[in-house]
Each structure stands twice: as structure tokens, then as C-alpha cells.
Symmetry: C2
DNA sequence: TTGAAAGCGGTACCAT
DNA sequence: ATGGTACCGCTTTCAA
């Protein structure tokens, strides 16, 4: 009698209209055969009585759900939130909900919990920001018959559907920009070398340097660590005048080192980052030139792709453009 | 036969052990009376067979769910992600999932969709970052018998459980810090005045100014807008030497204006922000002194509070401390 | 201590 | 075109 969940069932509506539950179900779902007149009366009465379908009951019998599992490494970084925001938008518009799980702790226990929650709720599909260590989990999910869409990164061993961006091309556009600024001593700062996207960025750097002496380092992506490392690079090559970094934080760290050495930005030192996270544009002094990873768009496209997959349609991998936005750091 | 959702049911396990479904259910849930020996065998067999409970079936019969609705204004800001990360952590540890909804579009349609999704899935409880315009929705949720915990902000008209922070006290600690730095011409920059938290921050400013002439503005919280406005304030009061802002972005905007006027930071101009979002610490030149809103902790405590509520325990509103972190902007 | 059976709210198949 | 009915997987009440 409590109004929890409306407590109005199909049976109730049927009783009110002298119809069977089945008729009401068909009426509301636009399925089956039904006199248009009846259908109309059903819909009217349902809204009047405040009917709300029970997702659990429906899911139980259809063996389907309207849940999209969303698996990302971290929840508390704006980068991932932006992707999620895109997914959530499309999901919501289509009556789907996200089941969010972060994979920050790569323990066996956490992975099992994630898989378990997806299975318990019978997730219809999964959107995954993949990392090497998640490969096994991805296979497990697929083996349950659940379609997986990879976003932003891509595990070629796993294959399948994906929404990614052209890291090589993006890196080249960043490099061309620096080269056209007259820089010749350009260093690359990356995060790790065993990740496809990062490798592509480095390849873009390498290619555009066309045989000029390379200078590159891999470093933990904190302002402080990168700053210290950039000082080392200055010591090594006093003519270093630009950095292309595989992340925004790294680019900012390099800029800090340059500022500490009293170099003028951007004439004596320039930096280009990668991602366009919150930090990039919101610098007091040197808003960062960077590659704009289309985070929200990636989420949107991935959700749309997954919905197509769920309809049984086939889809092709999608490669989005990542433009360069030029600000004051270059 | 497909391994989707394991497809192993209680009945299957019962068959394998020559037990009834009920016995198995009781065995796995540690409920009912059962021989300890039997219980052990049940659990063993269940794990061996890869049993995964069907959340829909359980929810259907118990009329409960293990979903926590999480309602926030925006998904694509790090501030809210940090709160969500805290909630998700506790939820996951307790077998709950978040149902995330953002209320960015304050249309009737979006609100109905949000309510509908909560009802369809029979959300056990809701964590809400409240804004004035969400009051009606909050009442609606409560009227369905669903407990609501407010986080970060607080609608006194609505009352009930909450995890917030002492904005007045925090503002005072920021002001004391500025005053102890010798500043006397201190301005306040706020966002809007019809929000309890913001009002408290202003009150803290006002109180600490102890009758000194106040200078305060309300402004859209973008770096550019605040920067322009700060220039106006400098024109009005050339002795202005510090700003206490109700947000980090605003503080950064003020700093930019000061830098543009060639003021030395922090000796000639100081700024203190509010929140400690990603941007604050990650500035190339002037990492921001700011009040640290305990975002993740707020999420954690709110989730724990909601779980207590769901157990039928009573809880008291929680007021967290928000420390000042001193960086280079002051 | 355990089994049998009913029923949660839907959907789908089989009649009529 | 519509109604009756079985059943999805689980919990719970009643019997044994």
C-alpha cells in the first residue's frame, strides 16, 4: 500500500480496464496486436495511475537488462569523468543506466567483484577503457556473450569494436606546430612505452624529427617529477627549446622547469601537451597548447556503438579526430 | 546452455546436492536453519559450479535493491567525480552499485527521467548534491520512502541526513591566513548569494574583516570573467592586495589579473581559493592556497551513512573539517 | 533440519 | 483482437 515504486502493476491496470495483464503489457510496449483504441486507453490509464515498470521483473523474464557496464581505471580524474559524461548522456536518452566500476586496484578480488556485479545485473554490454592488465577480464566478459566496446585505448589482441583516436596523426600535428615555430631541439616526454597509444605518440615525434637527434624520457606523470627531469634535460642539452609531452601534466612540468630557468615562454621555450584536461586551459599564466582528446564525444560514440551492437547491427571501429588547440605555451 | 550469467541457478545446485532450492538459498545467505555441514557443502558446490545470484530475481521477491542513486549537477567536473569515487568505493565494498544521474538539464523531462530510473530499479537510497531547483525532486524521492543523504550542500527546508562541511569556519581560517600576512584590503569573490554554503563563506569573510571596508563581487566562475572583474576592483581600490574567493577558478582569475598588473605574488598580492580542485595544485607558477573540501571523504561518509540508514539505524548529520592548504599564491 | 509450494511483476506462448 | 497461463530465479511460509 506504500507508494514505493508506485506499486501499480500491470494487473492493477488490467483490472481497472477489464483487460488482461498481457494486453496491458502489449499496449505499453507497442508490441503484439491490439486495437489502437484499446492501446490508447491503456496508456492513458497507466499514466493516470502512475504506473512505473519494474525493471527487475522485466529483466528476469526477458533475460536482458538495460545496464551498460562502464569500466575505467580511475573515477577521480576529470579525464575519465568526461568520457563517462558522454556515455551517460546517450545511455539516459535510451533508457539505459550505467553500472560504473573503477579498476584502480588491480587485485584479483577487485576484478572478481567487477565481473560479479556485471553478471549479477546481467549487463547488456560493456564499455571499457582498456589496459594491458585488464585483457583477461575483457576476454571473460566477452565469453559471457556480452559485447565490449573499447574506448580511447585499444588492445589489438582483444580486437572488436572500439572508439579511439589517431594518436600518431595527433602527435604529428603537435610536432609540426613546434617545428613551424622554429624549434629544432625538441624533446619527448612519455609515460610508459608498453602502451599502444603512447607508442603512437612517440612514433609521431620520431617521424617528424626526421633524423634530428632525439631526446626522450619516460617519467611518472606528476608536475614535480617531470619538472625535475626537464632540468636534467636542460643540463644535457642547453639548446633544448621545446617539449612535446604525452600528457598535459608533463607539459606543465616542463614549462615549470623552463620558467625556473628564466626562459621566455613561448619564444625561448615552448611546450605542447596531450589530452586537454581541466588543467590545460586553466593556467594563470601559460594556458597550455595541447591535443584535444575528444573525451565526451568518445563516450557518446561508444555508447551509440554499443546500442547498435545490442540491436544486432554490425559496426566498424571508429577513429576520431583530435585537433590541436593553440594557447600560450607555444 | 550459454554460460551467460553462469546460468547456474539455485535449483541446479540443489539438484547436484539433492537439496531443495530453499536450502541452497539459506545456505548461501547464512539465513534460516541449516546443518553447518550442509551449509559448507552448499557453498563449496556453488563456487565450484560458478554460481552467480540473479539480482533481478532477488530484487523482485524482496522488493529491495542494492542500488544507490547518486544525483549530481554535473558529471564532467573533477569535483563531482571525487565525491562519486568515494561513494563508489564504499558501495562496492558492500555489494551495492551506484545509479548515476546528472541533473545538468533542469528540464521537467530530465527530472522525470531521473525519478523514473530510480523507481524502475527500486533504488534503496539516494545521495544528492542538492541545489535549490532540486528541492521538489528530493521531496518526491522521500515520499516514495527512499532515504536521502545530502552531500556538500544542504537544503535546510528539506532537512534530514547530510554530510557537509563547515563553510563559515573554513572561510575564517582562510581569512585569518590572509590577515596574518599583513593584508588589509581584502576582497571577496563569490558565485551566487542564494546558496547556503556560499552565504557561509561570505559570512566568514565579513566577520573576519571586523568592520574594515568590504569589497565583494559576484561573478560567473570562469578564469576570464573573474580576471576582468578583478581588474575593475583594482581600478576601484588600488590598495587591494588580497582576494578570498569562493572557488578555485575565481582565485586563479584574480591571480591572473594581478600578474597582468605586474604585482609580485604573494608579497604584493595574495589569493586564497576554495575547494582544492585539480587545477589548484597543478599550476606552473603559483599553485593555489585553498580550502580543501574533503570530496572523497564526503562521498565515503555519505555512503556509509546511507548504508546505516538502510539497516534501520539512525544517524546524525556529519560536519567534516576542511583544512587550509598553503601553497605559493599567498 | 529440510522439502514443497506460492508468488514477486512482468512477458510470451497457446488458445479462443 | 484478446484472455488464460506458464514461467523467469529467488525468497519465504508452511509442513513434515
Amino acid at each position: 500500500m506504500s507508494s514505493r515504486n508506485g506499486n501499480v502493476t500491470l494487473k492493477d491496470i488490467g483490472k481497472a480496464l477489464n483487460l488482461s495483464a498481457r494486453a496491458v503489457s502489449n499496449g505499453l510496449n507497442n508490441s503484439g496486436r491490439l486495437a489502437p483504441e484499446t492501446r490508447k486507453r491503456i496508456i492513458e490509464t497507466a499514466t493516470r495511475m502512475g504506473y512505473v515498470p519494474n525493471a527487475a521483473a522485466r529483466s528476469l523474464v526477458t533475460r536482458k537488462s538495460r545496464f551498460i557496464g562502464v569500466l575505467i581505471p580511475y573515477l577521480n580524474k576529470s579525464f575519465f569523468c568526461n568520457i563517462i559524461a558522454g556515455i551517460g548522456e546517450v545511455a539516459g536518452q535510451n533508457g539505459f543506466m550505467m553500472l560504473l566500476d573503477s579498476l584502480d586496484k588491480p587485485t584479483r578480488e577487485q576484478k572478481e567483484r567487477v565481473i560479479s556485479s556485471l553478471m549479477q545485473h546481467n549487463a547488456a554490454g560493456v564499455i571499457l577503457y582498456p589496459r594491458k592488465e585488464d585483457l583477461e577480464m575483457a576476454y571473460l566478459i566477452r565469453s559471457m556473450g556480452v559485447p565490449v566496446v573499447q574506448v580511447m585505448e585499444y588492445m589489438p589482441e582483444f580486437g572488436g569494436s572500439s572508439v579511439t583516436m589517431d594518436n600518431f596523426k595527433a602527435a604529428c600535428s603537435a610536432m609540426k606546430h613546434l617545428l613551424s615555430g622554429g624549434h629544432t631541439h625538441i624533446a619527448y616526454i612519455g609515460h610508459n612505452a608498453d602502451n599502444a597509444a603512447q607508442q603512437e605518440r612517440f612514433k609521431g615525434y620520431e617521424r617528424c624529427m626526421k633524423g634530428r637527434p632525439l631526446q626522450f624520457r619516460y617519467c611518472r606523470m606528476t608536475l614535480e617529477a617531470v619538472c625535475a627531469m626537464t632540468h636534467e634535460m636542460f643540463d644535457e642539452d642547453p639548446d633544448l627549446s621545446a617539449v612535446f609531452a604525452a600528457s598535459d601534466t608533463a607539459a606543465l612540468g616542463a614549462l615549470r622547469a623552463a620558467v625556473e630557468r628564466n626562459k621566455l615562454i613561448p619564444s625561448q621555450f615552448a611546450a605542447v601537451g596531450f589530452s586537454d584536461v581541466e588543467l590545460a586551459a586553466n593556467q594563470i599564466l601559460y594556458p597550455l597548447t595541447t591535443i584535444v582528446q575528444p573525451k565526451e564525444e568518445t563516450g557518446i560514440k561508444a555508447a551509440q556503438m554499443l546500442l547498435e551492437l545490442l540491436k544486432g547491427n554490425s559496426v566498424s571501429p571508429l577513429l576520431l579526430d583530435a585537433p590541436l588547440v593553440i594557447r600560450k605555451s607555444s
